[in-house]
Amino acid sequence: MSRYLVTRLGYSLFVLWGALTIIFLAIRVAPGDPAAMMVGPGGTEADVEALREKLGLDESIPVQYGRYLSDVARMDFGDSLWLNRPVASEVASRIAMTARLAGAAALIGIAVSFPLGIAAALRRGKVMDGLISIFSLLGQSVPSFWLGIMLILVFARRLQVLPSAGSSGWSHLVLPSITLAMPLIGVLTRLVRSGLLDVLYEDYVRTAWSKGLSRRAVLMSHAMRNMLIPVITVIGLQLGNLLGGAVIVETVFGWPGIGRLLVDAINQRDYPLVQVAVLFITVTFVVINLLVDLSYGVLDPRIRIQ
């Protein structure tokens, strides 16, 4: 196990280094002068020059790259030009807000898709199965920015039962987390259904039925247990994807998470802040994927040997 851990950890570090390099190159190699874009049309040539010096953009690319990597390693991100305060503390509080949103969405996703998936598998080919499959297909087809606006239209504007923006209380969490959960519900419901159908006709499940076990015992301790491993993997991978979805959903609902910080930073042309926001989302994504992989090894001993 420890050897697997070390290899896997080393690989994550490599992937992280690669991702950092892509972020670095994307901003430096892009056409146009980032300093000029940040200053905007109103600035003078001297303003641009001063900013270029402040950001270290006057150095050669290798020197900039070296400084960039050492800054990241020391977690020293400097001050945001737009917010005028240290980037690191701002990002930390934003990450916490995104975690709250993504956590709520994951809980909703699991709580909804398991009952739906099980119901569909047990009524395979019936009307209920068809309805659930349409619902899960819709979950994957409806884009979240539009679903969010439709929920705002109905629940915040027409019925006026829930707030459309803000982040103070639990009620603010309802609409964004449902919006963020929908694609997850779509994927998970299909997966639970097909996973359960795969094991439902296995010999050991038939044996469990013929022993006269109750429906509950057969489903819960025999069938469900064996379909959980692939489902847990997908939940883990989807947790990472929730971060990508959060960028959109946070923008729709004005939720002060890391995704909205990224979009605001792009609109303010604050490239150092864009860089840090992308970096944090990516690091979180890589760490989640690492944890999922490791838990997979714990759940299924066969994985470790490979």
Binding site: A26, I27, N241, I248
Partner: protein, 300 residues
Amino acid sequence: MTRQTYEALPSSGHNEIARGQSIDRALRSRRIRLMLWSLPVVAFIVAAIVGPMITEYNPVQVRLPDRLESPGTITSDGSRAWLGTDQVGQDVLAQVLQGARVSLLVGASTILIAGTIGLVLGTIAGYQGRWVDIVLMRLADIQLAFPSILLAILIAAVLGPSILNVILALALTRWVTFGRVARAATLAAKERDYVLAARSMGANSTRLLLRHIVPSTIPPMIVIATVEVGLVIIAEASLSYLGLGSPPDQPSWGRTVANGRDYLNNAWWISTMPGLALSLVVLAVGVFGDRLRDYLDPRL
């Protein structure tokens, strides 16, 4: 193709022939059903191409007497605004049709470019093995370290809003899936008997790749393309919603939805209509993709 296979079988009596015919009929009815499922997708393509020709859209036109009219109203020039008008009196239907064109253009070109990059790099990686394979697949792993929309946002943000840049950003983020599938298919085909036979008869690498290996990677690539095209259309709309996709004077579904956000209280249709079109198209593409996969690979 399939028909020839059955006719080539040695038939030893009427039963065999009858069975061949019934299989033939089953195959034909499967093909017809697949074509029926493709009709909504075809309707979208036709609307995207023909729609903007028959409805007029002028991005700088402002018609104040017609602003925020509800769907079905007759506007000041006597035409009917079937999907209503927006805050400057522009017809929403015309914008939805303009947006369909953007979605079709971005969806098709992105899949074509990403698919080609993926096919070329994937088959080379799978066929060559060694360091080429290692470098390309590690690059793919690094790209997958980003949540998929995030890298597209980053690239689109530094390139600036234009249709071409969106296609570029999405193709650069989407080639990975195609590359992996092409590589896997190449690895599988490389060891097949017919490829080994061709190699032993002296076929060179180019001929082996083009005549024997690449054709076998096409069906899985098509299946992946049907899954990816829906994701690409949603990604384009999301970028445009954020203001990073289509430029301000080019209406796209994402941009029109974003524009309608400020008018939800008195003009719900501006945001609703393009999003509805978008959802229906992605749904239609998804359902068709499922059927196509069943058709191409009945084992699944």
